[in-house]
């Protein structure tokens, strides 16, 4: 392993640890943002997401101007209406499971049994997608929009600098307005609480650190397929070799820190995906666990109503499949794609909103019915 790879590994772990710690302290749950919107018309958390996107947009554009990192980032591709379908299923899944792909990790780190079930569902769903992959690729191509560009500035043939600057200044000005009118702060009743807007700014900076170290924003969902691939290889090695999806290497790039070209994919091998995503995953779980233990709040509570057990697993499976279909998860699209105006991410959001509404409806009517 080259020293550059060690830096990427250590950087990912540290980024994940800090992110997990912050998310636990502020309970920065994106699934909660949307369920609170649809159930209680509460927009405080959603406003912090606007702030996160605005700050990320400014920081990513600054990195882009230096030329240190290429924008759009690796993995982002031209848009397809299939992104909306993926977003819809993801939105429904994250509400049913009680957390998105990252929310599941930090809650699991703090000892949540429901999130541990959702994590298992995520691995199952990501693995099931491997069997659907050829048909989904066919559908994605069928629904592809007639462009080979990835971002809106590319589509319009303009530089991203001016629109990124204007949008980020608008979103940050909006935040200042909300802050002055006390519309973005919650009351503090739990120990060690970090206001969500502060968490949003910190997470935007962590996203930029990820871009500088790995050349791309935080993303973790290919690893869920990898976990499933490792299990299939252990349990049924003869079946594993038949699954074409596990032989793909969609990531093939040279990291901004230099070194040789590295590649990776959803298969069971240790590769660039393991190097980039595993440290972030274990970091988030560890950071949240440290925060919970520090506050004396870590515990494992195995009592859970059976409807919520089903909801967590089914939601996790839906989310796991959708994160491959979308492609990628909400963290990737909302915190990484929207700030660079990626069209895939806009379509993902277009599907995520009705999906989260539908998930909230099912959860409140079926899972929590009296």
């Amino acid at each position: 392993m080259q020293s550059i790879h060690l830096i990427m590994l250590a950087g990912g772990l540290l980024t994940g640890l800090i992110a997990g710690f912050i998310m636990h302290r502020s309970d920065y749950c994106i699934a909660g943002m949307f369920s609170n919107l649809f159930l209680f018309r509460s927009t405080i958390m959603l406003k912090t997401l606007f702030l996160l996107i605005g700050v990320s947009m400014l920081l990513f554009e600054m990195v882009n101007i230096t030329g240190f990192v290429t924008v759009p980032f690796p993995f982002f591709g031209p848009p397809s209406l299939a992104n909306i379908i993926g977003g819809f299923l993801f939105g429904a899944g994250m509400i049913l499971s009680g957390g998105c792909v990252v929310g599941t990790l930090y809650k699991m780190g703090a000892g949540s049994f429901a999130s541990t079930l959702a994590f298992l569902g995520l691995v199952i769903g990501s693995t099931l997608y491997a069997f659907l992959h050829p048909k989904w690729v066919f559908l994605s191509k069928l629904l592809a929009l007639p462009t080979n560009t990835v971002t809106i500035p590319q589509l319009l043939g303009i530089s991203s600098t001016l629109p990124a600057f204007l949008i980020s200044v608008f979103l940050i000005a909006l935040f200042v307005y909300w802050l002055r009118n006390a519309e973005i702060e919650t009351s503090v009743v739990v120990d060690g609480y970090i206001q969500p807007w502060k968490a949003a700014i910190l997470l935007a900076f962590l996203g930029s650190v990820s871009v500088l170290i790995t050349g791309m924003p935080m993303g973790i969902t290919t690893s869920y397929s990898k976990f499933g691939a490792i299990l299939i290889q252990l349990i049924a090695p003869e079946r594993y070799t038949d699954i074409k999806y596990f032989t793909l290497l969609p990531l093939n790039y040279t990291p901004p820190l230099g070194g040789e070209t590295i590649s990776g994919g959803p298969g069971a091998m240790i590769d660039a995906i393991s190097l980039i995503q595993f440290p972030v995953i274990f970091g988030i779980i560890g950071g949240s666990a440290i925060s919970a233990i520090w506050l004396g709040e870590w515990h494992l509570n195995l009592r859970l109503p059976w409807k919520q057990i089903v909801s967590a697993v089914v939601g996790g499976i839906l989310m796991g499949m959708a994160s491959r279909m979308a492609p990628a998860c909400n963290i990737w699209h909302l915190m990484g794609g929207l700030p660079i105006m990626a069209m895939q991410s806009l379509l993902f959001l277009l599907g995520l909103l009705p999906g989260a509404w539908f998930g909230t409806l099912v959860f409140s009517r079926v899972v929590v019915s009296s």
Partner: protein, 83 residues
């Protein structure tokens, strides 16, 4: 669920996020007569940090007195008439 003469304790620990808040608000609404008359104190046990904050905010805005205390690894949210 444990019920005493004038104190009703509802254990919401471990539940999926929106369920904690939804169940809490439902219980407050179901017990509003007793709560408003002062004959009942509702105690919710929650280990969900976000829900604890939101329950406190939502129930306070409904005109009740809300006290949040930490009990080992969870939070105890006491709801009663605002005297």
């Amino acid at each position: 669920m444990l019920q005493e003469s004038n104190c009703k304790v509802i254990d919401l620990r471990g539940q999926i996020c929106p369920s904690t808040l939804l169940t809490s608000l439902r219980e407050v609404n179901n017990s509003k007569e007793e709560l408003k008359s002062g004959s009942l104190k509702l105690v919710l046990l929650s280990d969900n940090r976000s829900s604890t904050t939101h329950i406190s905010d939502a129930v306070t805005s409904m005109g009740y007195r809300v006290d949040v205390d930490k009990e080992r690894e969870h939070y105890m949210i006491s709801i009663c008439r605002n005297s």
